[in-house]
């Protein structure tokens, strides 16, 4: 099948345009997070109050709730910065989706057949998961923390790891490619979000402990603008609880595909092994969340370790170790 060069160029241009939208959005989120006013949820007293409200079982308190000490002018300016950033993120998301769609149309196949495409699709899933949390949980504060790694990964995908539009090799032309890889992409996006929230949970927890003990806050002051630890913990749990069955399905779909392509459903290929390790790590997180003595801090550390496994599986296994998944063409 011939590659449509016009569409291929369009795809590359949309990819660049998406980066141009994400970059100022990330900057906006970062600046707002660093210099914006304290929100209600950010001041510790309010955090304690919000936490006690949550303990009686109320729904998640809206994170952008009105400030404790109203500072209308400052708030509206910073709020506008954040809103513009959200707008840019949505715009970037649409451009990004357009880039992936046109790439698929150009090549006449599902557009995740090599490393560039896989990274691009995963980043789209991360941003998509962020927008979902933004809508469901008002988790705007995650913006800078989510967009920064997305920008970095997309930058890599567009440069050193770049592969131009083209067809895929024989083993990849099967309907299992869209099923297996789509599930892996979606689960990765959700896991990245969940583990990021767990990381912020640790920061926030540390900050709250320092404040409660009346110690100097120092570097942990970064967490001042974050929602209470409890909220972050719950966010992490929700995201990982959603991602886990999808990841399980991705691994199983991969096994079914491996059975028809390589004659065995499990062969401890490095990619399989690390997918398994990642799976075990997130399973450990879910178990730790309900084990006395592991809940909270220890569980969140596990989520962070799981993210490290996920990232190693994503980049490390393709770039460092050779295995059957090294088709990625880098």
């Amino acid at each position: 099948m011939a590659v449509d060069l016009g569409l291929a160029t369009l795809s590359d241009n949309l990819f660049g345009a998406a980066l141009l939208a994400y970059a100022p959005a990330a900057l906006g989120f970062a600046v707002e997070a660093a210099f914006g006013p304290r929100t209600a949820t950010a001041s510790v007293e309010a955090a304690v109050e919000a936490q006690s409200r949550q303990l009686v079982g109320a729904g998640g308190p809206p994170l952008a709730a009105g400030p404790v000490e109203p500072r209308p002018t400052a708030r509206s300016t910073w709020d506008r910065v954040a809103r513009v950033s959200v707008g840019l993120t949505i715009l970037g998301f649409l451009l990004h989706a357009g880039s992936i769609l046109s790439r698929g149309l150009a090549a006449g196949r599902i557009p995740w057949g090599n490393m560039t495409e896989f990274i691009s699709a995963t980043c789209l899933a991360v941003v998509g998961a962020y927008l979902w949390l933004l809508w469901r949980e008002k988790a705007r504060f995650l913006g800078a923390f989510v967009l920064a790694p997305v920008l970095l990964s997309m930058g890599l995908a567009g440069t050193v790891l770049y592969t131009s539009v083209g067809p895929v090799q024989a083993v990849l032309s099967t309907y299992w490619l869209p099923i297996h890889v789509t599930a892996a992409v979606v689960a990765t996006g959700i896991f990245v979000l969940g583990s990021t929230a767990a990381m912020l949970h640790l920061m926030s927890l540390h900050y709250e402990v320092l404040v409660a003990q009346g110690k100097r806050v120092g570097f942990s002051g970064l967490a001042r603008k974050l929602p209470p630890a409890e909220t972050l913990d719950r966010l992490a749990q929700r995201a990982i609880g959603l991602g886990f069955p999808i990841w399980t399905f991705a691994v199983i779909a991969g096994a079914i595909w491996a059975e028809s392509a390589w004659g065995r459903y499990w062969g401890w290929d490095p990619k399989e092994t690390w997918a398994f390790i990642t799976w075990v790590a997130y399973a450990a997180y879910l178990h730790a969340r309900s084990t006395a003595g592991w809940r909270g801090k220890a569980a969140s550390w596990i989520a962070v370790a799981a993210l490290v496994c996920l990232i190693f599986n994503f980049f490390g296994v393709n770039l460092v170790i050779t295995g059957k998944h090294s088709y990625a063409g880098v």
């Binding site: 067809p167 390589w262 459903y265 178990h287």
Partner: protein, 541 residues
């Protein structure tokens, strides 16, 4: 094992917080104590970590069963370390069948079984039990509301029960001593059911893997175009039976490779990448049965019940005719060559032990699309055979076949041979070796395929278990547990006061909306008190 519940969860699988060891344990007590420890959630967590950790070295070090060539390279690169790694007690080149990896996951599965099976029994009882009794003061629950209606207590209670049941609660109507009637309602049992299904399915999955590993087999065989294969253990190049394998597990099929074709992309970034492979097979499930044709492709194995034939690899088998110095044909036929790079430059050797007066050996390179560089070196620039050629180095002397040491068919031992000639041939060309009558003719080439035959009787069980795992996970992570109580109490003057209260036992986000929905459903089935009486009041926090 996973009590994924929030807040109100009880760690059914956990040992008490700080297990105090009694001063003296009886033998039985010690067993019980160890069992409790092994099946505790904390032990399971530690074992989970250990399994993940134990899986790591196998991805970093080459493994015997997936990459034996790289294991050999490792031995050459690390002559002191490799033999230590290879010891049975260390097994770092066989991680996934090593004693320590097996011990870790078996302990984990025992811990799992010891936790999940008693819990399944408990859950069965809980599912048959009636919803729990209402707290005395419903307004103290996280969500609560008060309504009034003109219905009588019994009618109101029944209407409420039906309304609550419609939102998939399990309900129970209980009259109380003071004339009030309470509806007890509970939902979300599928959460624990899903949790148990997931963990039991993990055990079944292990069973499926074990059945496949014990009774199945796997073999690979190289078949050249035109050749046949009869399914017998001795006919494989490499045969890996399970521990409990019996010859009767070998399906008595035969197959012939009639034709093999590979197609490659010829332009763009991906030029030279395989587009598709087609191996045309003629096969018969048992001797005497009519033969059938099958187009074997990557991702499309030939399925014969539990036995499957896969297309794993392919290559070129150049055909040679070799004459010795007496002018007699000493060798004729195709020789499978091994691909060396993505352009399918392939190397192989031809051993002619019957050549007179001296044995002959050819060390050759086949290039499917040949470009001759300066100095007569041939390279391949495309994997398809557009301009095939062989570059041959001919040796005379002793092939060393009688030494008793098994030799690779892909390597020539030239220690007792002398180089006689080197030349490049296109198909159909003949070259005389040195001055004698001996000659080599490159007749053309055939394709060969590497076929893998797998018999795995545990595969279907494993697949069913995997499907049950996903289903169980979805239930255990998505279903939410809720308890709701509704109490209808006579309030005089033909009025009934209805108190509602509820709590979320898992994932309380969203419960406020669910409860509000329940309240409005209740309101819609209860006729309001006629005007003039007190308006219904909602009390929500």
């Amino acid at each position: 094992m996973t009590e994924l519940d929030e807040g109100t969860s009880i760690d059914l699988g956990s040992a008490p917080q700080a297990p105090e060891r009694p001063p003296r344990l009886t033998a039985w007590g010690y067993v019980r104590y160890s069992w409790r420890q092994l099946t505790s959630m904390r032990t399971a967590l530690v074992l989970l970590f250990l399994v993940a950790l134990a899986a790591v070295p196998g991805s970093l070090l080459p493994q015997h069963n997936t990459n034996p060539i790289r294991v050999r390279d490792y031995f050459i690169a690390h002559p002191r370390l490799a033999p230590i790694f290879d010891r049975r007690s260390v097994s770092l080149f066989d991680v996934y069948s090593s004693w320590w990896f097996s011990a870790t996951y078996l302990l984990l599965f025992i811990s799992l079984a010891g936790c999940v099976i008693p819990r399944a029994a408990k859950h069965y009882t809980a599912m048959r039990a009636r919803p729990p009794a209402a707290p005395r003061r419903l307004e103290r629950l996280p969500e609560s509301a008060v309504l009034e209606t003109s219905l009588a207590v019994d009618e109101a209670a029944q209407a409420l029960r039906d309304a609550v049941r419609r939102t998939r609660f399990r309900v129970d109507l209980v009259p109380e001593l003071d004339g009030a009637v309470t509806v007890r309602a509970e939902k979300g049992f599928l959460r624990e059911t899903g949790n148990l299904v997931f963990h039991l399915a993990l055990l079944v999955l292990l069973l499926g893997v074990a059945v496949g590993g014990l009774f199945g087999y796997k073999g690979t065989v190289l078949v050249v175009e035109g050749d046949s294969f009869v399914n017998a253990a001795g006919n494989y190049d490499d045969f890996m039976p399970g521990h409990r394998f019996r010859d009767s597990a070998l399906a008595p099929f035969t197959l012939t490779l009639e034709h093999f074709a590979a197609q490659y992309y010829d332009s763009g970034d991906k030029a030279g990448t395989a587009k598709r492979f087609d191996a045309t097979l003629r096969w018969s499930p048992r001797p005497g049965a009519p033969t059938r044709s099958y187009d074997l492709q990557v991702n499309h194995p030939l399925v014969m019940g539990q036995t499957k034939v896969y297309l794993l690899g392919d290559g070129y088998a150049p055909e040679f005719t070799v004459r010795d110095d007496t002018g007699k044909v000493a060798f004729q036929g195709p020789v499978p060559f091994l691909p060396q790079d993505s352009q399918l430059s392939s190397t192989g050797v031809v051993k002619v032990p019957g050549a007179q007066p001296q044995q002959l050996g050819l060390d050759a390179l086949f290039t499917p699309t040949t470009r001759l560089l300066q100095g007569g070196v041939a390279v391949s620039t495309f994997p398809a055979a557009l301009a095939p050629a062989v570059s041959v180095v001919a040796y005379r002397g002793n092939l060393g076949l009688e030494s008793g040491v098994p030799q690779s068919v892909y390597r020539l031992d030239t220690s007792r041979m002398t180089k006689a000639d080197r030349f490049v041939l296109a198909p159909g060309q003949t070259h005389q070796i040195g001055a004698g009558k001996a000659s080599v003719t490159f007749d053309g080439y055939r394709m060969w395929t590497n076929l893998q035959v797998t018999y795995d009787p545990g595969k279907d069980l494993a697949l069913a278990a995997a499907a049950a795992m996903v289903l169980g996970l979805l239930l255990s992570l998505r279903v939410r547990r809720r308890r709701v109580w509704v109490r209808a109490r006579p309030a005089g003057a033909g009025r009934t006061v209805v108190e509602m209260g509820g709590l979320a036992r898992t994932d309380e986000s969203g419960f406020r909306h669910e409860f509000a929905d329940l309240v409005s459903r209740a309101r819609s089935v209860l006729p309001a008190v006629p005007t003039g009486a007190a308006a219904p009041t909602d009390r929500e926090e």
